[in-house]
């Protein structure tokens, strides 16, 4: 390649990029955020949740997570609150008590220590454990991470709760800085071993980004987009939980 043709090439490329950027800015699509069904189906079940709902007992949900389980200063728009709202809507006869325990900046191993106490205090039917982000950021040894999640899930199950694991967010801006794959893989392994449903937040968000539902590369500063993403996540998670508890059909029929 001669220097001249190189310049032409770069210019052409930039023009193409600019055109693509403009095209994107124009089509502000409505918030569909469909999730393909394979991302929401799971072989694992939530028997305790199913039992509680069938016997019309209150459903106590505990969300254990790090900072990506909330939106700073608008907690009621974050996915746990949205999940609660969606569950209430779909299970009108079941009282839903949902509480959130945030462990900001703690690795799975550090969260482990308090899990059992937490479960004894709250007696949840279902624990939704969002983890992996802090471990990935601190690049904890993936084997240690797997061990920690493994122990945590076992402890939760022994304490008599159903468990759903929630993995990392898809964060394209920090992809060059945080290596997510080992942590995603290990969470999948633990979920398989304990027969626990894994809510694949990463794949779902990436699907939205690829499908054009959300521009997750956006430098937008307000909380608006975060709220919309969390609303979609909450709704998807409610579907996932009901599907895993095999409750969806029962309710609709």
């Amino acid at each position: 390649m001669r220097p001249g043709s190189g310049t032409v090439l770069v210019l052409a490329l930039l023009a193409g990029l600019a055109a693509a950027g403009l095209a994107r800015a124009q089509d502000a699509a409505p918030q569909a955020c469909e999730v393909p069904s394979y991302l929401l189906s799971t072989e694992s079940t939530l028997p305790k949740v199913a039992e509680a709902v069938k016997n019309a007992r209150p459903l106590t949900v505990l969300v254990v997570g790090s900072r990506s389980s909330t939106i700073l200063s608008s907690e009621n728009s974050a996915y746990p609150a949205r999940l609660q709202a969606a569950l209430k809507e779909k299970l009108p006869s079941t009282p839903i008590n949902l509480s959130v325990e945030l462990h900001t900046g703690k690795t799975a191993e550090e969260v482990d220590a308090g899990l059992v106490k937490l479960v004894e205090a709250k007696r949840p039917t279902l624990v939704i454990w969002q983890t992996g982000t802090v471990d990935a950021m601190r690049s904890v040894d993936p084997d240690d991470f797997r061990g920690a999640v493994d122990e945590g899930v076992a402890a939760l199950q022994n304490a008599g709760a159903d468990v759903v694991l929630v993995n990392l967010q898809y964060s394209p801006r920090t992809e060059t800085m945080i290596s997510a794959p080992p942590y995603l893989d290990n969470m999948r392994v633990v979920a398989q071993q304990h027969n626990v449903p894994l809510f694949d937040r990463f794949a779902i968000m990436r699907h939205w980004n690829d499908a054009g539902d959300f521009d997750l590369f956006s430098t937008f500063h307000g909380t608006d987009m975060a709220k919309r993403v969390h609303a979609c996540l909450g709704r998807a998670l409610s579907k996932f939980v009901l599907d895993a508890a095999r409750l969806d059909q029962a309710q609709q029929n």
Binding site: V10, G21, S66, I71, L72, T174, V189, H221, T223, A226
Partner: protein, 419 residues
């Protein structure tokens, strides 16, 4: 993936002849396994060039071109190819230096190479710092307030930069060069052992690999964690490459040409392909027996899982079998860009890492649909090709007057730079 099945040129240097090979080399050098200066093994260049392109594409966000990378079709990926060929070529070039000029001179040359790789790594780190600092100040999406915490290291540059110089702090995608540096540091010892007893060297390498798995050895990184590519494990590929270069390939040629080997390789590759298929199409995962899943996963890249290593071996064996050394396609214009890139691997590797950063940046700033993603990947590959062309132009035209010692320049290319 290289001349595994073929003799290179001349007779292979057998172990017993190691001591008098030096004397022979001093006079006419027919007794050693290395080809005459100037004769290039183009397959090495071809596959190293391919590995460089694939590594670049794998470092970019997923796009159409990602589907052409081999990691989607099996366990191993371009990193294995790169490290193996690096071991092969390094042993080839510096092994000859050790025979001709002795241990001290060869070591000195290797150390100079290590220094070049180190400087390249630090240079890339600087670019990375610039990118991160920019993103940290511009990007404040509350959705990612947690993930942005990764930028916190910018608050204490005194520690971070020193740790980076010590190779302990490495951003994502900047793990290959530190691994390469460590492997090259130990190359003099490896070559010295190989010269004495090649099989013992390989055996020790396997032993180290096994012990590492057993005792879970690793190198720590900063601020926490470990080296993404565990050098204690990855050395196996590097040493194996060196062993192949120094006559091992020749001795394996009978195994490699047997149909039994071929069918084992094909079966394994097909099985691996099926397993990877269940990753991409989760609907298929019900076909995977749970017991096999539990035994097999996770397939760790950090410690170079045996399944990955075997996958690479199978690929290499088939490649060597079906792509002869004198295949006319190697001279064709269409493979020229790949071969050119493979001939200047250090420069093109660094350029690829930089272009991956730049590509992320463009995608983030301009926004990216599938088309833009593919365009960025293609543009990156074209730039890599252009740069390789410019470098070889420098070597063959611009610098021609300066150095008449053309043979050294060619040998150096084999190791991916100046020796």
């Amino acid at each position: 993936m290289s001349s595994i099945a073929d003799p290179v040129a001349g007779t292979p240097r057998s172990d017993a002849k190691a001591s008098d090979a030096k004397a022979a080399a001093a006079s006419s050098a027919p007794a050693i396994a290395f080809p005459v200066a100037g004769e290039r093994e183009l397959r090495l260049d071809l596959f190293r060039g391919m590995a460089l392109w694939l590594i670049f594409i794998d470092h970019l966000p997923t796009n159409i071109l990602t589907w052409f990378t081999i990691r989607n079709y099996g366990f191993s990926d371009a990193t294995e190819i790169f490290i193996f060929i690096s071991g092969y070529t390094a042993a080839f070039v510096y092994g000859r230096a050790m025979l001709e000029a002795g241990f001290v001179v060869a070591t000195a040359r290797i150390m100079r190479r290590v220094w070049q790789i180190y400087v390249a790594h630090v240079f890339l780190f600087t670019i990375f710092l610039a990118e991160i600092s920019y993103v940290a100040t511009r990007f404040e999406n509350p959705l990612y307030s947690e993930e942005m915490g990764i930028m916190d290291f910018l608050k204490q540059p005194d520690v971070t930069i020193v740790q980076a110089l010590l190779l302990r702090f490495r951003p994502v995608n900047m793990d290959v060069l530190p691994l390469y540096i460590v492997l090259m540091l130990f190359l003099p010892v490896i070559l010295w052992l190989m010269k004495w007893r090649a099989d013992v060297a390989l055996g020790l390498s396997v032993l180290l690999y096994a012990l590492t798995w057993h005792f879970d050895w690793y190198l720590t990184a900063y601020p926490s964690g470990f080296w993404i590519f565990n050098p204690f494990c990855w050395q196996l590929l590097f040493v194996f490459g060196a062993w192949c270069a120094l006559g091992g390939a020749q001795r394996m040629s009978r195994i490699l040409s047997s149909p039994v080997t071929m069918w084992i390789c094909i079966t394994y590759l097909v099985a691996a392909f099926f397993v990877t298929l269940t990753w991409h199409i989760p609907q298929l995962s019900f076909l995977m027996p749970k017991r096999i899943e539990q035994w097999m996963y996770p397939i760790t890249k950090t410690d170079l899982d045996v399944l990955r290593f075997a996958h690479f071996l199978a690929l290499a064996a088939l490649t060597v079998r079906f792509l002869p050394k004198d295949w006319s396609g190697l001279k064709s214009r269409w493979l020229r860009p790949l071969i050119l890139c493979g001939q200047h691997s250090l420069e093109i590797f660094c350029l690829g890492v930089f272009l991956a950063f730049a590509g992320h940046f463009v995608l983030a700033e301009v926004g990216g649909g599938a088309l833009t993603h593919a365009l960025v990947s293609l543009a990156g590959i074209l730039i890599m090709w252009g740069m390789a062309w410019v470098i070889s132009w420098y070597k063959h035209s611009a610098d021609k007057g300066a150095s008449k010692t053309k043979s050294t320049a060619i040998n150096a290319d084999m190791a991916g730079g100046s020796a």
